[in-house]
């Protein structure tokens, strides 16, 4: 089962339009939503959660169509937003007590275990936490009510490298269940590269591509050579080129190149930057 299915999702917000987004997140997978600031990542997530009203399109979450307002469905979704949003005066202990009344399937032992694992002080008010600690508190809640879908908006951005690594392990463990899925947005592309099975690139409200990560890395490569060597290539194979004082560098489609052409692997970050530049050049 797909944990998320989005078809032609459109939202106009004055000077910004999220334009006919279509993507799916299969069960047991992690989808990374990549985009520069203002690309529409948070708008997409807010639409999925029903925090904004869509203009057009359909959203199905855990098999239920247009259930953004469905409170029962929200029992199964764990969310951490960029601004975590917990009341500042509540300690983790008090937050746990509050959530036990809000979620029917609240797991106090799991919550306690996560708070300990994240080294958060049980009696320290949320407002005294650092950004990373706030994120961890949000994650502890998101992972303590038997959620099947995790939606994380820039959740790794405030974490130090060790905490980020720990988080990535927790997320990997979460998707070992085939019914679970994670949608994670970030502009720290290296995190998503390590973690995700699917990648979606957003740019100015449009989905540049949505693809399996491994396939993307197989499909694209970086060609480095002289200007004349580059010009000899099939123009259809060249997605974006850059001329430097030392030669040329181009993002290319591997299967359109003549056999034997030397191509370096491309990272997701490079791929994203090149595709955005190409889009801007057009």
């Amino acid at each position: 089962m797909n944990t998320i299915e989005v078809r032609n999702l459109t939202k106009n917000r004055g000077d910004f339009t999220l334009d006919r987004l279509t993507f799916t997140l299969p069960g047991g997978c992690i989808l990374g939503l990549i985009g520069e600031n203002g690309a529409g990542k948070s708008t997409t997530i807010k639409l999925l959660l029903g925090l904004l009203r869509k203009d057009e399109g359909t959203i199905a979450i855990l098999g239920r169509e247009n259930g953004e307002k469905d409170t029962l469905l929200k029992e199964e979704i764990g969310v951490v937003m960029d601004e975590v949003g917990m009341p500042g005066c509540l300690t983790p202990a008090q937050t746990g007590k509050m959530m036990s009344k809000i979620y029917r399937s609240w797991e106090p032992e799991r919550y306690k275990e996560l708070i300990q694992k994240f080294a958060l002080l049980w009696d320290k008010p949320f407002q005294e936490f650092s950004k990373g600690m706030k994120m961890k508190q949000g994650l502890a809640v998101a992972l303590s009510h038997k959620s099947k879908l995790l939606i994380l908006d820039e959740a790794t951005s405030g974490l130090d490298p060790v905490a980020r690594d720990e988080l990535l392990d927790i997320l990997r463990e979460f998707v070992t269940d085939e019914e679970h899925g994670i949608l994670i947005s970030s502009h720290i592309v290296s995190d998503l590269e390590k973690l995700c099975d699917y990648i979606a690139f957003l740019h100015k409200g449009k989905l540049l591509l949505w693809e399996e990560k491994d396939r993307l890395l197989e499909e694209y490569g970086i060609f480095r050579g002289s200007r004349s060597q580059l010009e000899a290539l099939d123009p259809e194979a060249v997605c974006h080129k850059r001329v430097t004082p030392y030669g040329t560098e181009a993002l290319v489609l591997r299967d359109r190149l003549p056999r034997g052409t030397e191509v370096s692997p491309v990272s997701i970050e490079e791929l994203f930057v090149q595709l955005v530049k190409e889009e801007k050049a057009e």
Partner: protein, 205 residues
């Protein structure tokens, strides 16, 4: 109901944390006004204290991003709004309870019947619940920052109306307590309904 219980529990914790100094200063002053026979000042003061506490709670909810986060929890907009309406009544119980204790103490000291002079309580209750019922829909619709103007406006109009009512009541027969009570219930429930609708229709919480 359990969700609502969680939201009210959170508001009580917030009240204890953010408004404790408020309570420590406001309550003795309120009791002094009340016991020294300055009921009209006590009434205005009570309205200010109650509305100040409710708007403080709403302001912290807005600033912390709680309202948006709450939209991701299994809570309905009506429950989030409803928690504030129930807090309004709980505050009345606590604050009027303290004033009643002060009154009983004063009467005991003076050797008068326990509840002599308690006729002002329905008025204190009615004024603050009525005024907040008029203000809350605007605060839910516009947010605390923009809703502040509505707050001041309703407060001034309420003061003017109550002043006019006192003057008129000396010459004309005003509705009895029962009718005013029913009116207050209708106003409170209507306000709750409108706040829920307006809050639901608001996109960015």
């Amino acid at each position: 109901m359990s969700t609502m219980e969680g939201l009210i529990w959170k508001d009580i914790r917030m009240l204890a944390f953010y408004c404790r100094r408020y309570l420590l200063i406001a309550l003795p002053v309120s009791v002094i006004f009340f016991l020294t026979g300055q009921e009209s000042i006590a009434m205005v003061y009570h309205v200010i204290v109650v509305s100040g506490m409710i708007t403080t709670l709403m302001s912290y909810d807005e600033k912390s991003g709680w309202n948006q986060y709450c939209g991701t929890l299994p809570c309905k907009a009506g429950q989030l709004v409803g928690a504030k309406y129930i807090m309004l009544l709980l505050l009345q119980v606590v604050l009027l309870g303290i004033l009643a204790a002060a009154l009983v103490g004063k009467n005991l000291y003076a050797g008068r019947p326990f509840f002599e002079g308690s006729g002002i309580f329905p008025l204190l209750f009615g004024m603050s619940v009525g005024m907040m019922s008029l203000i809350l829909p605007f605060l839910f619709r516009l947010g605390i920052e923009k809703g502040r103007m509505a707050y001041y406006l309703v407060f001034l109009v309420s003061c003017a109306l109550s002043g006019a009512l006192v003057m008129v009541s000396q010459e004309v027969k005003v509705p009895t307590g029962g009718i005013l009570g029913v009116g207050l219930v209708v106003l409170y429930l209507g306000s709750w309904y409108v706040s829920t609708r307006w809050y639901e229709s608001k996109e960015e919480k």
